[in-house]
Amino acid sequence: MKNFLGWFDQRTGSKKLLHEALFENVPGGARWRYAWGSTLVFCFAVQVVTGLFLWMAYSPGAQTAWESVYYIQHEMWGGWFLRGLHHYTAQAMTVLLVFHLLQVVIDGAYKAPREINFWTGVVLLLLVLALSLTGYLLPWDQKGYWATRVATSILSITPVLGPALQRLVVGGSDYGHQTLTRFFALHAGVIPGGIIAFIVAHIYLFRRHGLTPKEPRRKPDSAFWPDQVFRDAVVCLAVLCVILFFIWRTHGAELDAPADPSAPFSAARPEWYFLFLFQLLKYFPGGTEIWGAMVVPGVLLLVLIGMPFLGQKPAGHKFNLGFLGALFAGVVVLTVLAVNEDNHNPDYLAAVQDAKHDAERVIELAQSPDGIPTTGAVSLLRNDPLTQGPKIFAKNCASCHRYDGGDGLGGTPKGAIAGSDLKGYASRAWLAGLLDPTKIDGPHYFGGTKLKSSKMVDFVKKDVAGFSADQKTQLAGVLAALSAEGGLRAQADLDRRDAAVIDQGRKSFGGIGCADCHQFHSTDPDATAPNLTGYGSHEWLVAFISNPAHPRFYGQDNDRMPLFGVTHQLSDQEIGLVADWLRGEWYVPASGKAGD
């Protein structure tokens, strides 16, 4: 072994190199405050390694980016941990960069002859922030998508070159495949390459000029190995423990619903350490955005770059310390203001909850037996009755109808109810209420409609109210039979169990007077009320919503209900989605978590 090392050293000079690396002089002995630079090297190394492994599973493309990140996070062995490690180490790097910068300025390590080293550090700070900005988009979720739209819009206000720059970064006029390929190339290739080059220069210059000791020196000089290496290792371990805590707490990193340019996302915010810039933009009225987005940050950056020169002047160091302190305080204040404003904004808080629901739901759908189609996961939510049904209902139906007293989304519509409350529609309980003499003309059923004075209401209030015990039993059977027509998922077990009752109910339909007006598995040209064959089924409800004034349904007796399909107020797909939602027909995972 000794022979081999000797042979190797003769040819490479490795011994001298190792000696230079380990026995660098530390003036005044090892100290904890010198560890910040090493923690940054450690974090960067973690990012390179975790990034390379993520790269092996990531696919940049509008139909594959979210999908591959979902797969890493939820399907692959330890994927959540790998993602979490990459995500939180990125955040740690930003915080550590600030600590490192503060320490360098406080200790005066930016002054001559270390100006160039200070500037390489400033470039590294900017490159790390650029890594963060580009990485935020890569999961192609709603949060990253909308935040990047804002960031690239800001880029477009750059004088003269703005629109061309934006186009080059976005990869065209709209966000898509080429945005991802470009951001990924920047994130995984160009920027890390730049960081490596600047770290090499930074460490070379650091070694050339030596460490700037904190005065007064408390101890005699010592070598980098082992005292300082030990301290650096302990601080890196502490940083890692903090990162591990956050990974454990959130089980990896957040993944919102897939990016959808047609779905509002009021919860869009940049990463927390950019919130101060986000907040700053709010204070610049229309047309002056460039001041908040470029001029002010640009001037602050110029002062930062000018610090080594300012530091030479009398009281220059004090000015630098004051400037940095004020900058830091300004960033903290703006960040607190942004967070505080959001925490007191009910619309924002509701949007965050919605985003959370959508994120959970899309993962349920991705894990369903059908999986993610090749068109991408964005279609999973677009075609999901549980997600879209309430939205369609709130926008198109809730001006008359209600769902559990509200608009389906938890809101309260303006105006009085002018249609039935459709929560539990077509279930036995819902139909029992309709046939209840005390309820049929109440607000939950026909009370707000012109059917309030109709043959049906008369029938229920007079005939049904006077039913004998035997007739009431028959009515219960008819209700069970009618409800079974819909084939509701929630009632499947009940319908199977009561097959005999349902069969008997179908036979009793005419016996208790329903067939006087309605058709039910029979043809009666004189029928005046909706045909109840297939009542509440997907086909029946879609046809009804499309055209309630069709002779099969209310005909000329239709109240104010719009003919949603005939007039194309809703597309066939939207009608299908709201019908399935009302029928409780959506994918439920085996654990039975979705919906109610």
């Binding site: 509008a62 139909q63 909308w146 739209r149 804002v150 819009s153 800001i154 477009s156 206000i157 629109p163 061309a164 186009r167 080059l168 976005v170 990869g171 065209g172 006029s173 709209d174 898509g176 495949h177 080429q178 959808d260 340019p261 047609s262 779905a263 509002p264 996302f265 009021s266 919860a267 869009a268 986000f278 933009l281 709010k282 610049f284 009225p285 229309g286 047309g287 955005e289 460039i290 619309d347 924002y348 949007a351 068109t375 677009r382 926008k395 198109n396 001006s399 303006k414 719009p562 003919l563 007039t567 194309h568 107020q569 809703l570």
Partner: protein, 190 residues
């Protein structure tokens, strides 16, 4: 025969000093070296700049809704714009490419506003309680007609109105376009 170092020939480990008269060799080395270094970046740059010459297919009229879908009281309704989306190598027909707010006007016409905030492109909300629009990102606020409501808010111009055409009496056709964010002028992105 053994060679002896001569005073005119320094030992071989010290590189010979270049001759001042080698101007042509130096110039050629710089030109050839520089040329070699340029080939790869130039090849890459051409592909990198390709998006500058692409034109989007936006700007054609799309049927978005029917008149019946709009409340008579003039409250705006948000509608997705379905069209063929071209994303580099993919052409997908009939998918949402954006969204608009449609509003029935007193004169029987329809106003269409792009949902994208002219400040930085966020999706604007309609707030019934405020009788206007509000951007959830940087708090820009707009009146019902899309004009700027609060002049101190960050948007440089009102919401972008889109051309509307009523066809066959009830169909609302909107020419969907996006516009440059952050500037006072309304400049279409093509």
């Amino acid at each position: 025969m053994a060679e002896h170092p001569s005073p005119h020939h320094p030992p071989h480990h010290a590189p010979p000093q270049p001759d001042r008269r080698d101007f042509l060799t130096k110039a050629a080395a710089i030109v050839i070296g520089g040329g070699l270094a340029l080939v790869a970046p130039a090849a890459g740059l051409l592909v990198f700049l390709d998006p500058l010459r692409r034109k989007s297919e936006a700007g054609t009229a799309v049927k978005v809704a029917t008149l019946d879908a709009l409340p008579a009281n003039g409250d705006p309704v948000q509608k997705s714009v379905l069209a063929t989306r071209v994303d580099a190598w993919n052409r997908t027909p009939n998918v949402p490419i954006g969204a608009v707010f449609l509003q029935r006007l007193k004169d029987g016409g329809v106003r269409a506003l792009n949902v994208a905030c002219p400040h930085a492109g966020c999706f604007v909300d309609f707030r019934n309680s405020e009788d206007g629009y509000h951007c959830p990102c940087h708090n820009s606020s707009f009146s019902l007609d899309g004009s700027i409501k609060d002049p101190t808010s960050p948007s440089p111009r009102g919401m972008d109105e889109l051309p509307v055409e009523i066809r066959h009496g009830t169909e609302i056709w909107v020419t969907y376009q996006t516009f440059r964010a952050g500037v006072r002028e309304k400049i279409a992105v093509i």
